[in-house]
C-alpha cells in the first residue's frame, strides 16, 4: 500500500480487455485508482477520470500472467468476478490480483481475507444464478424460434450459452437478458451475444398456447394438497424469477397463503387490497425495467 499513489478514478470501455488494461496501468505506474468505471456509467466524480485506452497487447499480457503467476482457478474467478454484479467489482478484482501476484496459487484458499471472500461470494452468486436459470428459463416458440426473457442480477449469458447450445443443437433460439440489455442468439451451431434493447415479441400461436396450458395443468396437478408449503417453494425458487416462468407468472402477486385469511368475509377486502398493491408494484416494476433497458441498451458489449 505504502508505495502506491492514490489517483483519480480510471475509466475504461467496459470490456474485459479494458479492465485488464486498467490493471496494467495501475501496476505500471504504481498507482491506486479511487474507482474503476465503465464508460457511460452514472458518476459524480470530484475530478475527471483518467481514460484508459484498451490495448489488446497489454490485456493479453495481463491475461496470460494470471494462470501462470497465480493459478488457472484464479483466472476463472477473475472472469467470473467480471460478470458478477458485485459493487465496484473492478476495484475488487484489482485488489484480488494484487494479492494474488504477491501470494501465488494460495490466494484462492485465503477465505479469511476480506477481498478474497468478497470475490468468492460474487463468483458463487453468479454461478448459482446461472445454475438456477438453466432450470427456470422458459422458452416460448414463435414462428419456429424459441425465445426467452430473463432478468438476472449477474451477467449470466456467457454461462448459459454453452449449456443451451449443447442441449438444443438443432434449434434456433434467442435469450433476451432484459436487465443488461443483451441477447444470446443461436442459429445452426453459431452463438452470438449482442446488445439488444426493448425487444418486442410477436404473440404466440395456438399450438404454443396449448403446450403452455398443458404445462400449467401438470404444474398444478403434481403438487400434493396436504403438503402445501409456500415458504419452502419460495426458498428454492425466489419470487424474482417467477415473472418469466410460464407456470408461476400468474401467481406472482397472489396472496402468500389462503390460510392466513381467518374470516371469509374479509377475503373480498383482502383481495381488493392485494389487487391494488400488486397493480402499484407492477407499475413501479415496469418503470424500473424500462429505465434500465434504456440505459443499458448497447452501452457496453461484454462478450
Amino acid at each position: 500500500m505504502s508505495d502506491r499513489r492514490t489517483v483519480a478514478a480510471y475509466q475504461y470501455d467496459g470490456s474485459f480487455d479494458g479492465l485488464l488494461c486498467c490493471v496494467f496501468e495501475s501496476f505500471l505506474h504504481k498507482e491506486q485508482p479511487l474507482d474503476i468505471l465503465p464508460e457511460g456509467a452514472e458518476q459524480f466524480p470530484l475530478c475527471p477520470p483518467k481514460v484508459i485506452e484498451t490495448d489488446r497487447k497489454k490485456a493479453q499480457r495481463v491475461a496470460a500472467s494470471i494462470p501462470k503467476k497465480i493459478s488457472p482457478l484464479a483466472a476463472e474467478w477473475v472472469r467470473g468476478g467480471f460478470l458478477s454484479c458485485a459493487p465496484h467489482r473492478e476495484l475488487l478484482l484489482l485488489e484480488f490480483l494484487r494479492k494474488g501476484y504477491r501470494t501465488g496459487p494460495q490466494v484462492t484458499r485465503m477465505m479469511q481475507d476480506e477481498t478474497v471472500a468478497a470475490l468468492f461470494r460474487a463468483v458463487q452468486f453468479l454461478e448459482n444464478e446461472a445454475h438456477l436459470l438453466k432450470g427456470f428459463l422458459r422458452f416460448v416458440e414463435r414462428n419456429g424460434v424459441l425465445t426467452a426473457v430473463i432478468d438476472p442480477k449477474n451477467f449470466v449469458l456467457p454461462l448459459l450459452a454453452p449449456h443451451f447450445a449443447g442441449r438444443l443443437p438443432r434449434e434456433t433460439f434467442l435469450i433476451y437478458d432484459r436487465s443488461h440489455g443483451m441477447a444470446l442468439l443461436h442459429r445452426q451451431g453459431e452463438l452470438r451475444i449482442v446488445p439488444a434493447g426493448g425487444i418486442e415479441f410477436t404473440p404466440e400461436n395456438d399450438t404454443e398456447r396449448e403446450y403452455q396450458r398443458l404445462w400449467k395443468q401438470f404444474y398444478d396437478t403434481i403438487a400434493i394438497e396436504g403438503r402445501q408449503n409456500p415458504k419452502c417453494r419460495m426458498t428454492h425458487c425466489p419470487r424474482r424469477y417467477w415473472q418469466n416462468m410460464t407456470e408461476l407468472c400468474g401467481e406472482i402477486f397472489a396472496p402468500l397463503s389462503q390460510k392466513s385469511l381467518k374470516n371469509p368475509a374479509d377475503s373480498g377486502i383482502m383481495e381488493e387490497k392485494h389487487r391494488r398493491i400488486s397493480a402499484g408494484k407492477a407499475a413501479v416494476y415496469d418503470l424500473h425495467t424500462e429505465s434500465r433497458c434504456a440505459r443499458d441498451s448497447g452501452a457496453h458489449a461484454r462478450s
Binding site: 471472500a117 442441449r167 396437478t221 403438503r227 428454492h236 425458487c237
Partner: protein, 436 residues
C-alpha cells in the same frame, strides 16, 4: 379423451412418487438430436408443496389390475382411468423439453394386463425418445416387479436411472397391504439392476462402446407412517440397501391418507412430515457424513427426537468429544459438528492451510455459527456467545419450530428468571436426552 385430461389424470396419479431427481449422469448431446444430462441435476420448477419439479412425472397408465390397499390406483377404487399411447407421451416429453420445462421423463405405470405387457409399453416410449428423437436427456423409469428379466434389461439400457419401489419397510407390512407384491419380486429386479450395472462397468473397461445400463444407478422409495415400523428399523433398512444393493438414493414418503381401508390409518391422519424430514436428515448423515445407523438410533432410542435434528442429538449425547478445535480437527470430526456441513467443512480445511482461523474468519468463509459456536473453539478459545451463555445452549440449538413445540419463548434465550410456571430447563434437558 384428450391429452389435457389424460395428463391431468396420469400426473395426479404419479404425484405420490417422491423421487424427482435428474442427477448422477453427465452426457453431452449429439448434434443430430436433442438434449444432454448434467451430473448435478437441474430443478426446473418448484410445486406449491415446495418439492422440486425436474422431470415430467407421469404414469403411462393408471388402469391397474393390482389391489394395493394404500394406492389410489388400486383396481377396486372408483377413479377415472387413462392410458397414454407411447407416441403421445414421447411427443409431449420432447415438446416440454424444448421449452425448457423439464429435464427429462420420469415414467412409471400401473399394471396394464400383466407386468410383461406393461414393461413392453413403457420400453416403447423410451425407444421412440432415444432412437427416433435421438433424445439425450434424462430418463428415470420404474422397473415393474414380476416382469421378465430380459424386458427389464432392455428398459434399463434405454434409461438413466431405474428404480424399484420397496413400498413398505417390512415384509409383514407388504403382505398385509400389498397382497399382489412380494419382497422377492421387488428385490429380484433390484438385484438384477445392481449386477447388471457392475457387469456393465467391466464391459466398459473392455469396450467403451458397450451400451450403458442405467448409468445414473438405481433408487427406491418407501412409505413411512402407514405401518408400525420404528425409525431405527427404517434407517437400518436403508443402510442395508445402500450397502448391499449399492443404491444411489432411498426416498421416504410420508403416508398421505388417500383411500379408506380398515388396514390403514384413518383418512384424517396428518402426514408425518416431521418424521419424514428427520429420516432424510439421517439419510444424509449416512451418505455424506460418515455416520452409521447405529450411531444415530439404537434399540433403546428407536425413534427420532422430534425437537433436535439427528446430528445435534448425537452431539448432545457425546459432549465428551466437544468442543473441537477448528484449526486442528480432522475433516471427519468437523463434519460431526452440528451446523457444519460438507461445504463448510471443506472450506475450513482448505482455508486453514493458509493461516489459522478465528471466529471472524469463519464468518467470512460462510460458516453458519448459530449452532456450531457451542461445539467449537478457535485458536483454543470458546466463542464468546458460548462462554457467556452456555446454559442457553439448549434453546440456541433448537430450531424455532421445536422451541414452539416445547412452549419456549420465541426469538429469545432461556433465562434463569423465566416463568417457573412454564417448562423448566431440566424438563427441556430431559426431553432432549430422551428421558421424558
Amino acid at each position: 379423451m384428450d391429452l389435457f385430461q389424460k395428463l391431468t389424470i396420469l400426473s395426479d396419479a404419479a404425484k405420490y412418487d417422491a423421487a424427482c431427481t435428474s442427477s448422477g449422469v453427465d452426457r453431452s448431446g449429439g448434434t443430430d438430436g436433442i438434449g444432454n444430462a448434467q451430473a448435478c441435476g437441474i430443478c426446473h420448477s418448484f410445486a406449491a408443496d415446495g418439492r422440486c419439479i425436474s422431470l415430467l412425472k407421469v404414469l403411462l397408465s393408471n388402469a391397474c389390475v393390482y389391489n394395493c390397499q394404500y394406492c389410489v390406483n388400486r383396481v377396486t377404487n372408483d377413479t377415472p382411468r387413462a392410458t397414454f399411447t407411447a407416441r403421445e407421451l414421447a411427443d409431449l416429453t420432447i415438446q416440454f423439453y424444448r421449452r425448457n420445462y423439464i429435464e427429462g421423463l420420469f415414467l412409471s405405470s400401473g399394471i396394464l394386463k400383466n407386468p410383461d405387457y406393461t414393461c413392453e409399453q413403457m420400453t416403447e416410449v423410451l425407444r421412440i425418445l432415444r432412437q427416433e428423437y435421438k433424445f439425450y436427456g434424462y430418463i428415470h423409469v420404474k422397473a415393474i416387479p414380476g416382469a421378465d428379466p430380459l424386458l427389464i434389461e432392455r428398459m434399463a439400457l434405454l434409461a438413466d436411472r431405474m428404480s424399484v419401489n420397496i413400498e413398505l419397510p417390512s415384509e409383514q407390512s407388504l403382505t398385509t397391504l400389498a397382497p399382489n407384491k412380494s419382497r422377492p419380486a421387488i428385490l429380484g429386479p433390484m438385484r438384477q439392476i445392481r449386477d447388471g450395472i457392475s457387469q456393465n462397468q467391466t464391459d466398459i473397461v473392455r469396450s467403451r462402446h458397450a451400451p450403458k445400463l442405467a448409468p445414473a444407478g438405481q433408487s427406491t422409495q418407501m412409505i413411512t407412517g402407514a405401518t408400525p415400523e420404528t425409525d431405527f428399523q427404517i434407517l437400518r433398512l436403508s443402510e442395508a440397501l445402500y450397502k448391499k444393493y449399492s443404491l444411489k438414493r432411498v426416498f421416504f414418503s410420508a403416508y398421505m391418507p388417500v383411500v379408506e381401508s380398515a388396514l390403514l390409518p384413518s383418512l384424517d391422519t396428518r402426514p408425518p412430515l416431521l418424521r419424514e424430514h428427520r429420516l432424510y436428515q439421517a439419510d444424509w448423515l449416512l451418505r455424506f457424513y460418515g455416520f452409521k445407523a447405529r450411531e444415530i438410533l439404537d434399540e433403546a432410542h428407536p425413534n427420532f427426537n422430534p425437537f433436535l435434528d439427528p446430528k445435534c442429538n448425537w452431539a448432545i449425547h457425546h459432549m465428551e468429544l466437544f468442543p473441537v478445535e477448528i484449526n486442528t480437527a480432522s475433516y471427519e470430526m468437523l463434519l460431526r459438528v452440528p451446523g457444519i456441513g460438507v461445504r463448510s467443512a471443506k472450506r475450513i480445511v482448505s482455508a486453514r492451510r493458509t493461516g489459522s482461523l478465528d471466529l471472524a474468519a469463519l464468518k467470512k468463509i460462510g460458516v453458519v455459527l448459530k449452532r456450531a459456536q457451542y461445539f467449537i473453539t478457535c485458536r483454543g478459545k470458546l466463542p464468546d456467545a458460548a462462554r457467556l451463555r452456555s446454559e442457553n445452549m439448549i434453546r440456541a440449538v433448537l430450531s424455532d419450530r421445536a422451541a414452539a413445540m416445547l412452549g419456549l419463548p420465541q426469538g429469545e434465550q432461556l433465562s434463569l428468571f423465566h416463568d417457573p410456571g412454564m417448562l423448566t430447563r431440566e424438563d427441556v434437558l430431559q426431553c432432549l436426552t430422551g428421558e421424558l
